[in-house]
């Protein structure tokens, strides 16, 4: 069985607000100096999900981690290799830059087809930078595979997965025949700590690199050229907070004052 984890490297969400900058001319985020990008947290959980299936025995399973990104994304790949994945794939090409969820899914799908024998793909429920949560679904669409998103539990048996999904008002369990794409949520549990021997072994694992042309992709259909999403304006919103105290002698008076105040601002 061949399992794939899609891993994105993102700016560290713990970047202090003072160090977070955007370039309004190009509508892009400026990397904070001295703060290394990290593996998107949900992708660490997706890796955990794939590794648990690999380790649940039964069949021989191999886990490949794929990242589309700059050379620096090798660190994110290495992190998943250190968790126990077997091989890495880096999708690096200037043509991939400036894309959207759609072009990302397109590139990832080409790489998965290139691998050939993939049975299941695990993505994070969303990337912790833009929080779009679309790549997993679009990827399933591109591949023409079944999909289940926002998983909190995944069980594999005999070519099928049963996925417990998080809904706004509870959970639902769906069954899918492989091949399939799943996105994994934080409710799934914590990703493992990479073990020292695995950390050391990760450097020796193979990481294959593909460019657009090696995947048979035309530069015009990927990256900013193929992007269907256009960012009109990127800005850091000004937040302003104000405290107002309600006055009144009794709880009833206070509540009445609060209701009036909220109604005045059309909040209720």
């Amino acid at each position: 069985m061949h399992l794939v984890v899609c891993a994105k490297q993102i700016p560290d969400p713990d970047t202090p607000p003072s160090a977070f900058k955007i370039d309004e001319a190009t509508n892009s985020v400026v990397p904070a100096p001295g703060i290394s990008p990290i593996l998107s947290q949900f992708d660490g959980i997706a890796a955990e999900a794939a590794l648990r299936i690999k380790e649940s025995g039964g069949e021989d399973a191999k886990v490949t981690v794929i990242s589309m990104g700059a050379e620096s994304a090798r660190a994110a790949i290495k992190q998943v290799l250190a968790m126990g994945a077997d091989e890495g794939v880096l999708l690096n090409d200037d043509a991939f830059e400036g894309g959207d969820s759609y072009t990302t899914a397109k590139v990832l799908a080409s790489a998965i087809r290139e691998l050939g024998d993939v049975d299941a793909v695990f993505c994070g429920r969303q990337a912790a930078d833009w929080d779009m949560g679309q790549v997993g679904l679009l990827l399933a669409e591109e591949l023409g595979w079944a999909s289940a998103i926002i998983a909190k539990d995944i069980n594999y048996a005999d070519g099928n997965v049963s996925v417990q999904r998080v809904l706004t008002d509870g959970y639902e369990t769906v069954q899918m025949a492989l091949p399939a794409v799943m996105t994994v949520s934080n409710e799934f549990g914590e990703p493992r700590y990479p073990k020292l021997p695995q950390i050391m072994a990760a450097a020796k694992k193979t990481v294959t690199q593909y460019s657009a042309s090696e995947l048979g992709l035309d530069a015009a259909e990927v990256g900013s050229a193929g992007s269907r999403l256009k960012i009109e304006k990127l800005f850091i919103p000004e937040t302003d907070s104000n405290v107002e105290f309600m006055t009144g002698d009794t709880p009833q008076e206070l509540a009445a004052a609060l209701v009036q105040r909220l109604q005045a601002d059309k909040l209720i």
């Binding site: 202090p16 290394s36 992190q79 250190a82 990479p194 073990k195 450097a203």
Partner: protein, 389 residues
Amino acid sequence: MVDFRISDEQKLIIDNVRRLIREEIRPLEEDLDPDAFSLPPSEKDRLVSMVKEMGLYQMDVPTEYGGPGIDIVTRTLVAEELSQHRAGLYAPAYGVFGHGPPGQLYNATDEQKEKYLWPVIRGEKSAFFGLSEPSGGSDPARAIKTRGIKDGDDWVINGGKLWNSGADTADFGIVYVRTDPSKGREGISAFLIDTETPGFRVERLVQVLRAHYTTELSFTDMRIPSQNLLGKEGGGFALANEYLSMQRIPYSATGLGVAILAHEMAMDWAKQRETFGQPLANRQAIQWMLVDNEIDIRTGRWACLQAADLAHRGEPFRFESSMAKLVATEGAGRVVDRSMQIFGGLGMSKDLPLERWYRELRIRRIGEGPSEVQRIVMARDLLNIRSGS
């Protein structure tokens, strides 16, 4: 070429330590006394298992003794992470990464290693270190009055020690004794002494600035078999090996860890707190404090990393490790002091860990070789003056 960039492997190791401190240690600490220096045993056992599973237990132990084989540069970087919590300075991660044995034990005989070194590595025994006496710790070669006299196959030891951390709970100690009063340095021998030996007494617990007290010990006609002589007779101070001297480097870096955390806290606070209509961070007086914090942290880090890098390459690093100890410790003290000033009254309170670090960092300028003694060591190297006196 000078290159202080961190490799991916180092980063993954550091990330593991950082994550454990943030996700496990700090939340537990919220429910502990502000001066606590140990975890509830069940929590400690759980975390030790986690660390063993990660392969990072007993990181400071050399590979030939079962340690995981992490180089000194990485251990220095890890030490900076390990102390980033309230008790982190004197109880980094509350010991869940293992307590390495005193470096002198690597010079022990096979028999002694069996009885003392291995049990410490396995976490079954703990040791205290008995060098300082009421007569002085900076110049122990002259100050040691504890006397050992050979009697048949035994040594009879009389005297006492002061400032021995952990001696009241330890199973044994490495104790420095004058065995030949006609000689200076060469008249001092080290012994492995079981705390159950008749004549060994903990006279009192000595309270100090930090919550973890030290002890005063007395030895009365203590009979110690010759097998417990560590190293050669008169060779107490010759018990030197690379582990022993290298260990000072990560030790120095633990001070940096708390400085880094104090500085982060102060930066956040300076941006939030408004006085006279503006955030503190807009005031040049405060900006300069924060810049000075950053300078002290970076200087300390470079000093520690340079010492570690030399040690890693197998080059001499005595001057550099003394400098690292001095610069990192004194710098960290200043950082915590400035951070407390920025926090105003809150900086004085036990709601924040700053006041604990402030007290403990003050001890660091005395313990493990006072700043003056570090300067003496550096002066000897710099001026090529004879050592050993």
